[in-house]
Symmetry: C2
Subunit: 395 residues, 2 copies
Amino acid sequence: MYKITNISNGVCASKGFFSDGVSAGLKAKNARDMAFIYSEAECEIASVFTTNKMYAAPIRHFRTKGDFKTNFILINAKNANAMTGKAGVEDINEVLAHTASLYPQIKNPIMSSTGVIGVRLPKAKIKEGVKLFDLSKKESGNASSAIMTTDKFSKEIALKVTLDDGSTFSIGAMAKGAGMINPAMATMLCFITTDADVKQKEMQEILDEVVVTTFNAISVDGDTSTNDTVLLLSNAKSGAYDREAFAEALFKVMHFLALEMVRDGEGATKLVTYKVTGAKTDRDAQSVAKALSDSLLVKTALYGEDPNWGRIASTVGASGAEAYEETLTISFNELCVYKKGDLLFNEAMEEKAAAIMKLAKFTISCDLGIAKGSFTAYGCDLGYEYVKINADYRT
Amino acid sequence: MYKITNISNGVCASKGFFSDGVSAGLKAKNARDMAFIYSEAECEIASVFTTNKMYAAPIRHFRTKGDFKTNFILINAKNANAMTGKAGVEDINEVLAHTASLYPQIKNPIMSSTGVIGVRLPKAKIKEGVKLFDLSKKESGNASSAIMTTDKFSKEIALKVTLDDGSTFSIGAMAKGAGMINPAMATMLCFITTDADVKQKEMQEILDEVVVTTFNAISVDGDTSTNDTVLLLSNAKSGAYDREAFAEALFKVMHFLALEMVRDGEGATKLVTYKVTGAKTDRDAQSVAKALSDSLLVKTALYGEDPNWGRIASTVGASGAEAYEETLTISFNELCVYKKGDLLFNEAMEEKAAAIMKLAKFTISCDLGIAKGSFTAYGCDLGYEYVKINADYRT
C-alpha cells in the first residue's frame, strides 16, 4: 500500500521544478499576469486540449512539434491568442525564441494563453515581462495568481505519495477556471508537475482516464473554450513510481482543482454534485448528469434556492438518455422528493428541501431505476452575477 | 397561383371553429386560465409533441387513443399535469367525461395543459370552469390570453388563402411560449385550426416539414419541456385545398408564432436571427445555429450589447460541426467583422457593431466557407430578468 499526504508549494513541490509569476502590464494595477514553470531536467509531457475546432495558437504550436520533451512553459493572461491564425503561431515562436535567448537552459519551450479572443499577442509587453523571470524561484503562489482571469481565488495543490519501500514522489498543480468556459476572457488551464518516474505513454493513458471524472465532469456554463488545456510534466527526478498510487494521487489533484473551479464559477454561490445512478449505461448517466449541470432552468432554481424537483425530472427526460417517470427517483441529499411515480412532495418536505438548497454544497441524486450505469458531475448555480460578469466582459 | 392575406379571429377564423377563454380561479385575480377550441364537424388531427421522455399526461392520453377524430380541445394553464403518472391520465378522463356530459355535441375530446410539474390537476376547479364555456363563442383573444403563463403578450394569427378558382380556406392559430421551455410553469403550446379540405396523412407530412424551420429553429433557454405540443385540426368545411398554398400559409402561421415566442422569451430584449451558410451539411449548419442560439456566453454578450465576435467564433468551434478559422466569416447584419483569418475588427468597426447590437432585431451570419449546408435559427438575449423569472418561479 501507499500513503498520500498534502504538502505545500503547488507546481514547485516536486523535485527540480521552479515557478514564479510577474507583472508585464497586461492586467491593470501591476497585477501578476505572466508565469513560468521550469524544470532542471527535461520532462515527458501528457496533455489534454479543448475539443473546440477553433483551438487557439498555443495548441496549434504544441501540435506542430510532434513528440518532444520540454523543461519550460510560458503562460500569459489577458490574451488568448485565439482566432489569430498562422500569425498567432509565429508570435509564439518569436516570444519563445526571445525567452530562450535570455535563458539558455531552456529546451523546447511551450506557451499557454488565456484571455480575449481575436487579438494578436502583445508581444512587446510579453518580451519585457519575460526579462523579469528568475528561473531559480519556487513561488508557486505567484504563478497561480498570475494565470487568473475572472477567478476570484487562485487554485493550487500538491500531494506527496509514499510507497511501501519508503520511496516518495510528488504531484503538484495549479489551475484557473472561472467560466467553464468563458471564451472571451477565461478558459480552463491546468498545469501539473511531477517528479514521478513515469513513462510518457502510461502517463498519457492515466491522464486520459482521470480527466473524464474530473475536468470533464464539471460545468459552469456549458461552453467549451478555444484554449482549454491540461498539461502534465514529469521529470522523473524522484526515481519512484507506482501506477496505482500515481493514478490515485493524480485523481485527487485534478478532482480538487475541478471542484475549486466550479466553486469559483462566474457568479456561483453553490457547488452541486449530480449523482446519477441506475442508468441503462454509464454514457446515459453521463448525459443526464451533464444535462442537469448545464440546464439554465435547474441552475436558476438552484440560485433561487427553490426545490423545484419538476425541473430536475424534466431535464432528465430531455437529456436523451433512456428514462421513465415510473422508475425515476430524485433526492436532495438524503431527502427523497420523488419516488417511482409517487408524488411525495408536500409542504413539510418543501421546507426541508429548501433548507438543503441553502447549503453551499449539496447533492442532487437521480436513480433512473433501469440498470447499473452511473456518473457523477459537478455544477453550480447561475445568478445575476453571471449575467453581470458576462454581459460586457471586455470593457 | 394563390393569394395569402391576414385576417382576424385567430383559431376562430376558419369556418365552423369556436373558442373562448374563462377564469376558473387557477390564476390569481380572476385572470382567464382555461380555454376551449370546438369545431362543428369532427376534425382530422396532425400533431407534434415534445421529445422529452417525461412527456406529460395530456400527451400520454392523446397517444393511448390511436387514430381518431376530435371536435374539442380543453386547455388549462397553471398546472402541467406532468410527472403525475397514470393518475394524471385518469384525471384527464374524469375531467373530459364531465365536460362531455355537459356538452353532448363533443366527440373524443382531448386536453392540453401548461404549468407546474408534479402536482395533480385541480379537478374540482377545472370542472367548475368547464361550466362557464359557451360553445357558440368565437372569442379567440380570450382563449389566447387564457393559455398564457409567463408570456407578456398573447399570440394569435389567421391567414386566408384564395386559390386560382376563387375558392378559399383559412388557417388560424394561437400559441404560448415564454421559456422555450420553462418546465416549471411555461411550455410551448400551439393550436392551429383550418377549414382546408386536407387529408390527415398529408397534413401530418406538411406539419412535420414546417416544424423544422419554425418551432424547432427557436430557442429561449435550450430546455425542452414535458408538455410541448403543436396540434393542427382540420374540419374540411371550406371544401378547398391546395398543397403548396396550404404548406406556405402554414409556414407563415408557424413562423410568425415562433418568432413571437422568441420575442417574448423570458427576459428577452432582442430577437436575433442566426443565419448559418457554407456548412458541410444542412445538419452541421443546424448544429452551429442551435449552438449559437443556446450559448450562455453569446446570449449574455447580446444582452450587454457587446459585439464580442470571439464568442461567436468559439461557439461555432464548439458546436461539433466541421469548421475552420481560415474559412469562417462572421457578420453582424451587413457588417463583416471577421473574414477567413483576417482580424478586421478595429475601434471604428466596434462602434458600428455596437450600434447594430442595440437594435431590437438583427442578424448574426456565419459563413463556414466549406460547402452549401445552411440553416437559420432564432434566439434572444439573456439578462437579469431571466434569472429573476426563473430563480423562484413557483412562489
